[in-house]
Symmetry: C3
Subunit: 248 residues, 3 copies
């Protein structure tokens, strides 16, 4: 009866733009089912954060649940980095294939990988997976120059990444953001002059960050690292249904 | 066996004072059932925050669940404001009646409505609903003078509001509070000299705010925008069962 | 398939070191079942925070659930303190025995108890229970000298406490920590020169605190007041599976 309050410009599944990407830090089946029940239409990707997949007790059942709901899943980029450190990338890829993950994230937020080597991984993995590559450091003390962000994003898209994830972490206090959570607006403006924003997935765990990105790029901006319990809030911000963006 | 530790001065359902009002940002049925199981005796009103009702995937079942548990529900005031902006108040009211909402919230925290017009809505809606009207801005940059709060509250109660909600948002950083979450104690003291505090529902999402209000107004102060997972904490603060108020 | 990424130095249940101690603020049965499903191997103790046990609506069923899962439970130290204030310690102990709690927490974080009297309670309760005693104040304005921490810990272990809990609260802003959450490293270093760290359970609700303690004491440090939804994150920090400790 009240569907007419929704915004007709909002994209629908399967989305190429307007993605909402969820950070799952260890949801139970009941919580995952609840998220699908409440917000399934607005959940485009679920990331099993970092290498949580190696320890959670419900891995197989949770994978089956998201497969059944036709929600793509991936593991965090840190799992790729760990496998790289340990010389176990082949085993990691075999694991992803075994469980039919469609997406793999390739990042260098913690470790150092030479750019050329990262690009080779992207290129190679893109043959079997949809690749999300990530740029930006997880270390609050490392501030990467905007020109290096742009260069990395361009190269990684050229190598076959579907979208490039712009780092923000669970906290929203590194990468795109200052330690206070404030947005590095100059960085974002530099990126957008050179790259189609629909190819970027902006990690944006904090509401003020989500609001800024929606106002700046429009309701169908790609937003990542959204906590499961915030999907509805994000959707209402996109569609002009919450105070911060009301009626827009 | 340990019920004797509870505070006998605590009101019971259905309450006129000592209300705990919950902010539901998109709970699943399982989470809502869980809240009722753990804390049903202490949940007086559930607000489907802002206009989340327009997008959640479990609207009808969740309404049915709360009806069955005899817990009154309402939508956020922002939904009224959105309907007002769009010239759709009639449809919004029809929606509320169709689903048997007993409570409606009327606010002007985001948009500008002339005071006289807001009062007319309160008066009219009070014929069919229990009205919660809200005072205070959602904008951190707007600081409303205490005398204007008092005037608004008095007029809205006179127009038929059951309780007046004092703004704090989900964050507890506007309206009654400074940007840091600190309480505008002068404002509250001005209000209480002129208005019976049992007619005010204080939004108080942060623990320090809850503690202050309980110490200031007593255990049966009306507290709003409580996160579902904090109902038990709030109840223990009221009853002197948590460190901050232990044994009082 | 990816178990080899786990750290072989991690202890297994039942643990004497490497404890993860959970703060339950009022979990539903569904949430408790979810935690066991996802992270049961990493949950060593569940604390029903402060005196929440006196008001939650699912007390008996939740106790039964944790008993069945063989996860020891206790009530918060504040419940002991409340019983002490009210002259009802006998009833409190009878309640714990009736429901087959194996652990009791004895603290003086809110009230004043003479040291000798606290030690007598520890000694007496240790006959029937595993005793966790707690040191440190819940009041941010009370800063206890390191030498007094050390003295208290030594005496309470000598009196029969299994582990001594070092105060941090739910917030991680008192006791071991400054108001900002920063760790009082000098205090911790003073403690560790004189006491075996495996006898201390460090309340550490914030991620930065967990990381510091894991880096300082090793992956099998005892960590307390972990929110249920953070157990997996803590476990990955311990095992070198998250950015902050990746590959260690």
């Amino acid at each position: 009866m009240i569907e007419f309050f929704r915004n007709p410009a909002r994209t629908a599944k399967p989305r190429e733009a307007g993605l909402t990407h969820i950070l799952d830090k260890g949801m139970s089946l009941s919580e995952a089912e609840g998220m699908i029940e409440v917000a399934g239409d607005y959940v485009d990707i679920v990331k099993f954060g970092w290498a949580t997949a190696a320890v959670i007790g419900n891995l197989e059942k949770k994978i089956a649940l998201f497969h059944e709901a036709q929600i793509p899943i991936c593991c965090g980029g840190s799992f790729f980095e760990l496998a790289f450190m340990k010389g176990r990338v082949d085993e990691y890829v075999a694991f992803l294939k075994h469980y039919d993950f469609k997406i793999v994230e390739v990042s260098d937020g913690v470790i150092q990988i030479e750019a050329a080597e990262k690009l080779r991984y992207i290129e190679q993995l893109a043959k079997d997976f949809t690749v999300l590559s990530e740029v930006g450091s997880k270390d609050a003390n490392v501030v990467v120059a905007p020109s290096r962000w742009v260069k990395g994003i361009k190269e990684e898209l050229a190598a076959g990444a579907w979208k490039v994830v712009a780092e923000g972490r669970e906290s929203g206090t590194v990468g795109l953001y200052r330690g206070t959570g404030e947005i590095r607006t100059g960085l974002i403006e530099e990126i957008e002059t050179q790259i189609d924003a629909s190819r970027i997935l902006f990690e944006a765990p904090q509401k003020a960050q989500q609001v800024w990105l929606i106002e700046h790029f429009g309701l169908n901006v790609n937003l990542g690292n959204i906590p499961p319990q915030e999907v509805i809030s994000v959707e209402t911000l996109r569609q002009g249904l919450r105070g911060d963006t009301l009626g827009r």
